[in-house]
């Protein structure tokens, strides 16, 4: 039997100002452990060993100065693994889909051949290419979660957030945002205080969800092939940084309230099991496949339909279709970014769900295979614009489901509207800044 684990709290209490000891949560925790200590004194015979390995490791992982660099190292390793290890499996999936497309294109009825090849394989199939990195990312997240490190990550970030006057517990829902924004927004219920909860809800969508990963993987792979894994990591890092900055702004303006320290029981470190991690990754993969097989499929068919029909009828070139008309109508918004209408259309469709960005590009470009889409993309954008596009995808509204969840959690369309508006504005300004600054240096 090991002594009660209060290392984490002790570590943080040591670092805080004396004022923090007045906090009721800390007093309650102190009392709780005092009682636990008294009980243990009566029933527990301490062994020779003063510390267990888990406590020792916390001394390093929660170290005042080393904690954050270690967190960055772990995060980088996770995304490096996600991207680089999945490349070959993406290429294999791509090869299989391209091979299937060589047969479907031969279907005698032309529009059916186009629907299956350009719509379904070009749209949903193109999304499926990105299933391996999604599986690998969830495998890595599950591994970190099961090892007990993810809880420490919240503590490490808490120290920074506390210094900025934010509520440390907010970072736990934010971490969930790596998977999906919807549960992250819902998890804000666990945050104490209405202002803290609202701040967490508002910034949760800025955390990069799994649906954005295919966009990063595609663009980073095309424009930054040598450092693609690092670029993906930087996108996730930027998401965290922007969430912290926006939370700070919200706390100083809309949701003023004193922050409370983070009190959290840390689990012991343990060796994750391959079985558990694979099961988690498989579950997430199945969820993704179900999504691909249902509304992403429906979305691909709709996008295919409107990219084949125009004022002059059905079967028109995509440049004369309603999609192009719509895209060209909206493209002036992104004149300064230099995004062509195809990208603008994909971004607008991406409001439904981020996977649709990739799906739309696959259908609109009407080419099969990762390499063909990569070639088309590199003809439309330069690396600076590509980076701006990645940042825009990171920061703008994640999906319609997230907006609905914000409305549900805040019981207000007003806050859902504010969330959408500030994210769009933020995405627009930051991506434009990248284009301007990048153009200045590399133009």
């Amino acid at each position: 039997m090991n002594p009660p684990k209060e290392t984490s709290e002790s570590v943080f209490l040591d670092d805080e100002d004396d004022d923090d000891f007045e906090d009721p949560q800390i007093i309650l925790a102190d009392k709780r452990y005092e009682i636990i200590g008294e009980i243990l004194c009566e029933v527990y015979e301490p062994g020779k060993e003063k510390w267990v390995l888990s406590d020792l490791m916390d001394r390093v992982f929660l170290h005042k100065y080393l904690g954050l660099p270690i967190f960055f190292l772990v995060m980088w390793a996770m995304f490096h693994f996600t991207f680089n290890a999945s490349l070959v499996f993406m290429a294999m999936t791509d090869s299989v889909l391209t091979w299937i497309a060589t047969y479907t294109i031969q279907i005698p009825i032309e529009w059916v051949a186009s629907l299956v090849t350009d719509g379904i394989i070009g749209g949903v199939g193109f999304i499926l290419i990105f299933l391996p990195p999604i599986l690998f990312m969830f495998l890595a997240i599950s591994f970190l979660e099961d090892s007990g490190y993810l809880a420490r990550a919240a503590f490490v970030m808490d120290r920074i957030m506390m210094k900025m006057g934010l509520h440390g517990r907010s970072f736990i829902p934010l971490l969930l945002g790596f998977g999906c924004s919807v549960p992250a927004i819902m998890a804000a219920r666990t945050v104490d205080g209405e202002s803290n909860r609202m701040t967490t809800i508002m910034v949760s969508p800025l955390m990069s969800c799994a649906a954005r990963l295919p966009v990063y993987v595609l663009i980073a792979g095309v424009f930054f092939p040598e450092i693609a894994g690092t670029m993906v990591f930087l996108m996730y890092l930027l998401g965290i940084i922007m969430a912290v900055i926006m939370a700070l702004i919200f706390k100083k303006t809309l949701f003023k309230e004193e922050s409370a320290p983070l009190l959290m029981e840390l689990p012991m470190y343990q060796m994750p099991t391959l079985h558990g991690s694979f099961r988690h990754a498989r579950d997430r993969g199945m969820l993704f496949l179900r999504k691909a097989g249902t509304y992403l499929l429906a979305g691909a068919m709709i996008i295919w339909f409107i990219s084949n029909i125009g004022p002059s009828g059905f079967g028109v070139p995509v440049e004369d279709s309603f999609v192009a008309i719509f895209g060209n109508l909206m493209a002036p918004i992104f004149t300064f970014h230099g995004f062509p209408w195809q990208i603008v259309t994909a971004l607008i469709f991406g409001l439904l769900a981020k996977e649709v960005v990739i799906e739309s590009l696959g259908v609109i470009f009407a080419v099969q295979g990762d390499a063909a889409i990569a070639a088309t993309l590199s003809g439309l954008l330069d690396p600076v614009q590509a980076l701006a596009l990645m940042v825009f995808v990171l920061l703008y509204t994640p999906c319609i489901a997230a907006v609905g969840t914000i409305k549900k959690e805040t019981q207000s369309w007003k806050w859902a509207g504010v969330s959408v508006a500030y994210q769009m504005l933020l995405a627009y300004i930051i991506s434009l800044a990248i284009v301007i600054v990048g153009g200045f240096f590399f133009g």
């Binding site: 020779k48 060993e49 003063k50 510390w51 390995l53 020792l56 490791m57 001394r59 390093v60 992982f61 170290h63 080393l66 660099p69 270690i70 960055f72 190292l73 772990v74 980088w76 390793a77 490096h80 693994f81 680089n84 290890a85 999945s86 490349l87 070959v88 499996f89 290429a91 294999m92 090869s95 040598e226 450092i227 690092t230 390499a371």
Partner: protein, 149 residues
């Protein structure tokens, strides 16, 4: 400080300095201050290696003072080094798979290009730990964490 406290301190110091110096060389090489050096990786890799080196070195000082709890720094440093090593090994493994399958992007794959410092530095760590274990200079019969004694 007895001999069992000296050797972990020396090992942490040597490994830490090795990681730190390789990381710094990789960094200045990556920035372009000195010409590129084979097997020294890129800037981001350099930062990661520097972090591992700093973790080792942070533990060296308390180890020198006989603080056995500072073994944690060596353990975490080694764990991080292992993570970077395994990560690169997986990348090489998957690249090898692509090359075996003769996929387009892997036809010209050369394993030499995938050799980065995190790979060969960890081999040095393993050799150091192995040497210390064999010569019984750390741990001994009571294991590596004779804490609280």
């Amino acid at each position: 400080m007895d001999s069992k406290g000296t050797w972990p301190f020396i090992a942490s110091l040597v490994i830490g300095l090795l990681y730190l110096s390789v990381g710094i060389i990789s960094l200045i090489s990556g920035i372009g201050i000195i010409p590129p050096i084979p097997f020294f990786g890129d800037i981001i890799n350099a930062f990661m290696i520097i972090i591992v080196g700093i973790v080792y070195l942070t533990g060296a000082k308390p180890l020198m003072k006989g603080d056995r709890e500072a073994f944690a720094f060596a353990i975490v440093g080694s764990a991080l080094a292992a993570v970077l090593f395994i990560l690169q090994a997986i990348v090489i493994g998957t690249n090898f798979l692509g090359w075996i399958l003769q996929l387009n992007d892997w036809i010209d794959w050369n394993p030499i290009n995938d050799i980065v410092p995190s790979l060969w530095l960890f081999v040095i760590v393993l050799l150091t730990i192995g040497f210390l274990k064999i010569t019984n200079r750390i741990g001994g019969q009571k294991g590596i964490f004779p804490l609280g004694e």
